[in-house]
């Protein structure tokens, strides 16, 4: 369901609900009872489901993540003009969808990955409004970045499996796939969101 369709649906349901409230004597008739049943039970349930789905979808958008001020620098780091910066290279070369850039790499690709992400998001919101927000450069991941998130897209890709740097040792690929060797912290792809050096970094601007 598209966003505008959901909004129209919710507004119509609200108008009908308020009509029932205004002309509640109408529910004495059989038609009125049926209308009340649909308007006060069926339609709101569908509306809540539609609204929740839309909000969950929005919560995966880059705009949503960057709407908190503390995330602004992380958004800027996607524009660094340097191929060795993993997030920037992924973002600028469309290896990840730009409108879902944060979520694509920072969700856990597990059964409860989305739920865990939302719970962490709730904690971030709590900190944002009730505690002291740390500086962007002080923000770290809760746990080391799991290779699973990289392999979700790269596993089986020719430029991942056959690239010479992944073939230096016979067991290298197997170690990466099993998580024994980290893609990021092993020193191969260590340039991530370096928000501390943004001021001096050259920035890339997309041609329109």
């Amino acid at each position: 369901m598209s966003q505008s369709l959901i909004i129209v649906f919710l507004v119509l349901t609200a108008v009908l609900a308020l009509f029932v409230a205004w002309r509640v004597q109408f529910t004495r008739s059989r038609e009125g009872k049926m209308l009340a049943f649909v308007v006060l039970l069926i339609l709101p349930a569908v509306g809540v489901w539609g609204g929740f789905s839309e909000h969950m979808e929005r919560a995966t958008s880059t705009q949503f993540c960057l709407s908190c001020h503390v995330m602004t620098d992380f958004g800027k780091s996607l524009q660094i003009d340097d191929k060795s910066y993993i997030p920037a290279a992924h973002f600028q070369n469309n290896r990840i969808p730009r409108d879902h850039a944060c979520y694509t790499c920072h969700t856990d690709y597990t059964m409860f990955g989305t739920v865990n992400s939302k719970m962490r998001g709730l904690r971030h919101l709590w900190v944002q409004y009730t505690q002291t927000v740390p500086k962007p450069e002080a923000i770290k991941l809760y746990t080391p970045f799991n290779n699973r998130e990289c392999l979700h897209c790269h596993l089986g890709a020719r430029n991942f499996e056959e690239v010479s740097s992944h073939q230096k040792k016979p067991e290298q690929l197997a170690n990466m796939k099993s998580g024994k060797q980290s893609c990021l912290s092993s020193g191969c792809h260590e340039f991530i969101h370096d928000v501390g050096s943004l001021q001096d970094a050259p920035m890339w601007k997309a041609k329109k």
Partner: protein, 71 residues
């Protein structure tokens, strides 16, 4: 919106009216949260909009259960 009071309004209808107001208010709030992409909009949807609608639906179902009880 004016809500015309009827002297013959039954207790059940008063509950249905209140339930409809709760549902309507919850739905309108949900519409408002969909106009902005922000974590607080999501929280308002979850913490205010959904409980309002749930309370409205619950009150409406309670009213229906009351009818059955009397029968």
């Amino acid at each position: 919106m004016s809500t015309p009071e009827s002297p013959q309004l039954r207790p059940l209808e008063k509950r249905v009216r209140f339930a409809a107001v709760l549902v309507g208010a919850g739905l309108l709030l949900q519409v408002a949260t969909l106009l902005k992409i922000h974590p607080l909009a999501f929280m308002a949807f979850l913490m205010v909009g959904c409980p309002l609608i749930a309370a409205g639906i619950g009150l409406y179902l309670y009213s229906l259960a009351g009818i059955r009880h009397r029968i």
